[in-house]
């Protein structure tokens, strides 16, 4: 299945969870925030929250800024 990840197309296995996606991307869940279809997903739900075709996922983190 295909999702939009940070504005780009990404192909994932069916029923991938957010935890699986973060692991696939080598991202430490503690350093990021995940938005699924503009809703913020709480870290406690990363395991159970599965993704479906055409979902839009944004993975955000803090960077240097003024």
């Amino acid at each position: 299945m295909n999702i939009r990840l940070n504005g780009s197309e990404k192909t994932l296995k069916e029923f991938s969870s957010i935890s699986a996606l973060l692991q696939d991307l080598s991202l430490n869940p503690k350093t990021v925030v995940v938005e699924l279809n503009t809703e913020i997903i709480q870290p406690g739900s990363y395991d159970e929250q599965t993704l479906t075709e055409n979902d839009s996922v944004e993975i955000i983190r803090f960077v240097g800024g003024g």
């Binding site: 940070n6 080598s26 925030v33 913020i40 993975i59 955000i60 983190r61 240097g64 800024g65 003024g66």
Partner: protein, 260 residues
């Protein structure tokens, strides 16, 4: 001591974390500045660089993190970023920035007021970045801003406090702390803002792009402290008429009569 929303700050210098050449230099400069409040921005993760995490670069020191909403062009975008920031930081501190025009990065007063009102209702501690407009400062204070952050000059320009006469009025009227933000390009600019009675200054570019950012951070810390001490000591009045520093009485009158 400076107190914002119930939190005390012994340092009146706030640091931005953008544009440093490396995370190590940033961390060292921030430590050298002795600041306790640092701003950060939110961006999409660089998926090619998953370990690039500013929070771990800043190490174990205790800072109050002030996430900004840079990149937001209106209130709706700013509120979305604010909620992401709260989820990421676990705290309600927020530097609200609404800048519709990337060329000037000047803050939109209408959208900033709207977003401040909404975010305060939602429990955020909002420090809005604003133009140096005394009426707007009062309105932001009225809707619950924890401090106001008037600009000295446009972001990243190093032009100093060009808005000084308006900032004086803002300081005079404000019940909340006034943090002069943006455009401060030299320690003397920071000292000047503090001498006027600003409660704090926020500096980023002037330190991060300096030849030696760590030394420059130290210089800013000294300037902010000097300016604050001068303000508390009570500055002399400005005057157009000269006034002798040496005594007028007892001047010699014989052969040195010209001294009279």
């Amino acid at each position: 001591m400076l107190c914002i929303a119930g939190t005390d700050f012994s340092s009146r210098l706030f640091l931005g974390t953008g544009k440093f050449s490396s995370s190590a230099v940033m961390a060292e400069a921030i430590a050298a500045s002795d600041c306790q409040m640092v701003t950060v921005a939110l961006r999409r993760v660089d998926l090619t660089n998953p370990d690039d995490d500013i929070m771990s670069a800043l190490g174990q020191r205790e800072y109050t993190f002030l996430p900004n909403t840079s990149g937001a062009r209106d209130a709706v975008e700013a509120i979305r970023l604010a909620k992401l920031a709260r989820a990421a930081s676990g705290s309600s501190w927020l530097k609200l920035e609404v800048t519709p025009d990337p060329r000037t990065l000047l803050p939109d007063p209408v959208e900033t007021l709207k977003a401040t009102e909404e975010l305060v209702k939602d429990g955020f501690i909002v420090l809005p970045y604003m133009n140096a407009d005394p009426i707007l400062a009062l309105k932001l204070q009225d809707v619950g801003a924890a401090a106001v952050m008037p600009l000295g000059s446009p972001i990243g320009t190093n032009q100093g406090v060009l808005t000084d006469s308006m900032i004086e009025i803002i300081i005079d009227q404000a019940k909340v702390p006034v943090v002069v933000d943006a455009g401060i390009g030299a320690p003397s600019h920071a000292a000047y803002a503090m001498e006027m009675g600003a409660d704090a200054v926020l500096v980023n570019t002037a330190i991060s792009v300096a030849g030696d950012p760590v030394a420059m951070a130290r210089a800013f810390a000294q300037a902010v402290e000097a300016g604050r001490t001068a303000f508390e000591a009570g500055m002399g009045q400005r005057s157009k008429q000269a006034s002798a520093s040496s005594p007028e009485d007892g001047q010699l009158s014989a052969d040195l009569g010209f001294l009279k």
